[in-house]
Symmetry: D2
Amino acid sequence: MALHGARLSPLMSNVYYPEYLQLDKILNAQALESEKHGRPAHDEMLFIVIHQAYELWFKQILHEVDSVSRLFADHHVDDNGGELNIAVHRLERVRTIIGVLVHQMDIMETMTPLDFLDFRDLLRPASGFQSMQFKVLEARLGLRMEKRHGRQYYTSQLKPEHKAQIEALEHMPTLLELVNAWLERMPFLDARYWPADEAPFFQRLEELYSSTLVQGEEGNAALWRKVFVEGDTERALSPKACRHALFIMLYRDEPIFQLPFRFLQVLLDIDEGLASWRSRHLNMVHRMIGLRVGTGGSTGKAYLRGAMESHYVFSEIADLSSFLFERRKLPPLPASLRKATGFALEA
Amino acid sequence: MALHGARLSPLMSNVYYPEYLQLDKILNAQALESEKHGRPAHDEMLFIVIHQAYELWFKQILHEVDSVSRLFADHHVDDNGGELNIAVHRLERVRTIIGVLVHQMDIMETMTPLDFLDFRDLLRPASGFQSMQFKVLEARLGLRMEKRHGRQYYTSQLKPEHKAQIEALEHMPTLLELVNAWLERMPFLDARYWPADEAPFFQRLEELYSSTLVQGEEGNAALWRKVFVEGDTERALSPKACRHALFIMLYRDEPIFQLPFRFLQVLLDIDEGLASWRSRHLNMVHRMIGLRVGTGGSTGKAYLRGAMESHYVFSEIADLSSFLFERRKLPPLPASLRKATGFALEA
Amino acid sequence: MALHGARLSPLMSNVYYPEYLQLDKILNAQALESEKHGRPAHDEMLFIVIHQAYELWFKQILHEVDSVSRLFADHHVDDNGGELNIAVHRLERVRTIIGVLVHQMDIMETMTPLDFLDFRDLLRPASGFQSMQFKVLEARLGLRMEKRHGRQYYTSQLKPEHKAQIEALEHMPTLLELVNAWLERMPFLDARYWPADEAPFFQRLEELYSSTLVQGEEGNAALWRKVFVEGDTERALSPKACRHALFIMLYRDEPIFQLPFRFLQVLLDIDEGLASWRSRHLNMVHRMIGLRVGTGGSTGKAYLRGAMESHYVFSEIADLSSFLFERRKLPPLPASLRKATGFALEA
Amino acid sequence: MALHGARLSPLMSNVYYPEYLQLDKILNAQALESEKHGRPAHDEMLFIVIHQAYELWFKQILHEVDSVSRLFADHHVDDNGGELNIAVHRLERVRTIIGVLVHQMDIMETMTPLDFLDFRDLLRPASGFQSMQFKVLEARLGLRMEKRHGRQYYTSQLKPEHKAQIEALEHMPTLLELVNAWLERMPFLDARYWPADEAPFFQRLEELYSSTLVQGEEGNAALWRKVFVEGDTERALSPKACRHALFIMLYRDEPIFQLPFRFLQVLLDIDEGLASWRSRHLNMVHRMIGLRVGTGGSTGKAYLRGAMESHYVFSEIADLSSFLFERRKLPPLPASLRKATGFALEA
């Protein structure tokens, strides 16, 4: 159906669309349990196809996220090298894909609870909980086992080899950790750009911020110190990384910060997209099985709500918007830094 | 990921999610040509995955459309049997799926022309034109070979066995033909319900309609006769079928017409959804290859525009809205017919 | 821009598009606070326009919901009268509108926190919490003051006259109550259709249901009795209404239940659509103000999460899917009832 | 409803949500013609509200497009000044809005032709054709009167003062013209960066391009000369502007081209979004009035199809993808240029 881009050529290779896409595999991978049991249920086809479509897209998302992690993993994303541009582009693609995955829930909802009952019992104890790729995605982004809702339950239904696979992942650097390291090694708060030391500058930001706090927000002053100065072992982002992130948010119109700002934004978009997906999913499950027990003994709904609320990966970045204040109050940057964050063009 | 519906049970079968979905096939069916040629192109994965996702959904759409055709194929959709309800439900699902397929084009558009060039030449002469399922879908709905844009070109790129398969389909009844037959055998214009003959009734409708024509529409009076009285071998719908379809549209609030009305609507929704898809596709191709030659020698864009304009399957049904007039001018139905189109409940 | 439907006529009236739509009012209702204060903020226009667009659509939703309530308010929705068809059609429109409102959140999110800060302080103490129409909508659907999250807070920011207006609404029948009454007065469980009494029939359903319960679901047997037999003053739906609703869900393919089934579905769609909206809204607020205090002293996020979780109006209907079981186990209906739920056509 | 951002403060101003949004104007601007004529048509409310929602969003789109034009109108968008970043951000917002406007068509389609007939005749001769804002938008983007489909018809239905307003616009620089000027004054092909003259470089690109042409594309070599060397009075973009645009597309990963590349992309997105809107609109009109005469004597459908095909504003930019070739064949940039297109940071 789609692209008409291939061109005739004297040295024609012999690619044929159905073979290239391995459609013999793809289109022959739907074996209905209900047929095996002699009671074909029309909607089981949908059930299989939609989960396969989800898994295909999870594969694509992992392809993108892993490629971005690799760009960051060598501990260097050269500002002049185009890597960050590529990273943003690919994560924006992930965002777009997640938007389609949320939309896809509309298709699932065309299956009514009664139609699902026609084959539901035949599937036990299979469960979406056994989607390795989704667990891998959460782990690669930065969700740590100990932060997961229903920690033990989380891998209880996997085969041992799959469980081991997930646990192994926990030892690899996550995208969140790579982002923290990238933020930390930014040079913008280096002594060379701050003739009179950067510390007073951040102190001034702190004072500006404190002056905007209103009744009921007094606690935010302490929060500032925890986030930007003291740190906290519970937190994924270090004070130094947070200072750079705030710096990017406040001075995002300086050429060199435009792309980093987009990068931080798209991380939040992904978190939000996954949250939308979980929320749609939760509602769908409620409609589908009501108050009945889900796989594993807890009610599906309670579990999913817990996951929905606690599985944000980049919320420490979202929290930083607490610390913004009006742009017109922003102190100007030192001349040397201003120059370093612009293009060399005019020079 | 998705459904948490399976339940624990003493007689547990042993279905495991990754096996049930045959993920070993699905997730290992992406072989990049660019890798085979030693020049891995990151975006080729997307190119493969999105086409596979399209093909999965085409399979699902065909599953639905074929099941609906079978319901109609025995020449009887019993008003009291629930088949029409099922047909509407399934076609509304098809509509929902097409909506997602249109949205999916957003993902394709995250691939830039330059990224496509990294592997485009390696794919020749493969082309979306070789998607059998899409051609089958068009044929099953009712697009006849002789009405296709670029008739000869249409199957020129298929392997002989695929070409034969498409041509064989042309001899099976299409959904459009089945709909025509279903409309024709409706009893509502039968003599039993029309003590004084139905002919005068339709004549009265014609007069009512003619009286609403304004300057420039005089030709529509002749159109009425062609559509509802004389017929035309070029048309897919017979005059009798059209009379019933108009009847349904005008009296859609009578209980027995509510579902048939929805059925006609969802056929138009599907046509429109496919048109949206073709339109998005056309724009995407323009952005992707500009004014270059597409597979087969014609410019891709011109061909796609032709298909977009001429591949409506149910436009004769859409055209019927030309013949509506204000509800308040509608003649009341004979008492016996009114009774027959309602529920027996109160009796 | 949109419809080209108006026709020339000898008796031309003189409607002119900009006047018909009162565009002088609509397009001159954007007065930026930031301009009044001499510091024009570009994005305040968006802030105003999007809220106005939301309010326009809320008006339309209320127009539909109120018209549906009126259809039900005379305590009679005649199965042969077309009212239910109209009700379903209009509520499906509401569902479509809500889908657009959720999508519209994408536009809001193009405003960054820093851009919002340019004029946020100038708006105090205005708040979306003062949207009368949204409160009215919740109240009209069936959300009772005492069930609202943050009950007191709920009207605390309204002017006295608006507060009174909301409180007055609480005395009008809600859509949820009207639905309960409509379900209660259905005749399908009447003695006339049940030669041997309907009670044994529902007992049989209960037994069938109990036999499907698995480990961990034992409590659902008691739940069945509470929902379908004993009732509970906390519940909005009576046992009788619930029995009819379950009846509809189980026998939805009988002609007379097809439309009631769609009606129940679209109520759930609306609940789910509003839940999606609240979820997107919650995420957007988190991104926009982080952990800062929202209007009224509580953190906006905590409040919104509470509302998101407790403001489902039709969850008692969604819960009913807990009580479904496989269609093939369904007892057949008595012949007299079967006839009464079909069309009179063949008779 | 939406944002909970306003904060309590000792110096509280007195902004109240309903007043701030001027809801008395917005929500009292719906006067149904059908009510004036004593035959209230339920769906006329939808008809009015949706057109008002469209007009509100057109106002917002114009607010964004005009602000972007102003940024470019002083003939200087400083690479280090952040203006281009702002321009991209605002046009991406326009793209998002258009996406919602396309989606909004779903709402319009919940109105059936029969429901429209209840009030259609009362609206004559009003027509969406009298939407000034849409015409202004097309003109501001760059659609010239002489390129419009149905040129004379285009303003024939406007009141004289509105017609004059549109004609006046034609003398202001359009966004397309401003983009052309911006591309022309880029310094990247200046002598200072090309020790050995830039001409041979573009000649080399031409040769590279020609070598990729296949059978049937021979004409594209001449096209290259027309676009990049000779120019053509019919074209909106000059050869020099096109050379820079191609340069941006080919070297988009250089830091200084990342944002210009996004800028060119979003122009195409807007064109495509408007095309989708026109396509959906066309289909909707067909369903709504069938083959009847639209306002003005031509069939609405034929007119709309013409507009859909000819009203692309930025197609000369989209066409440029015809002239791309594989990235790995790209000649490297001279060292001085490479430096000028990167950040000064490391220096």
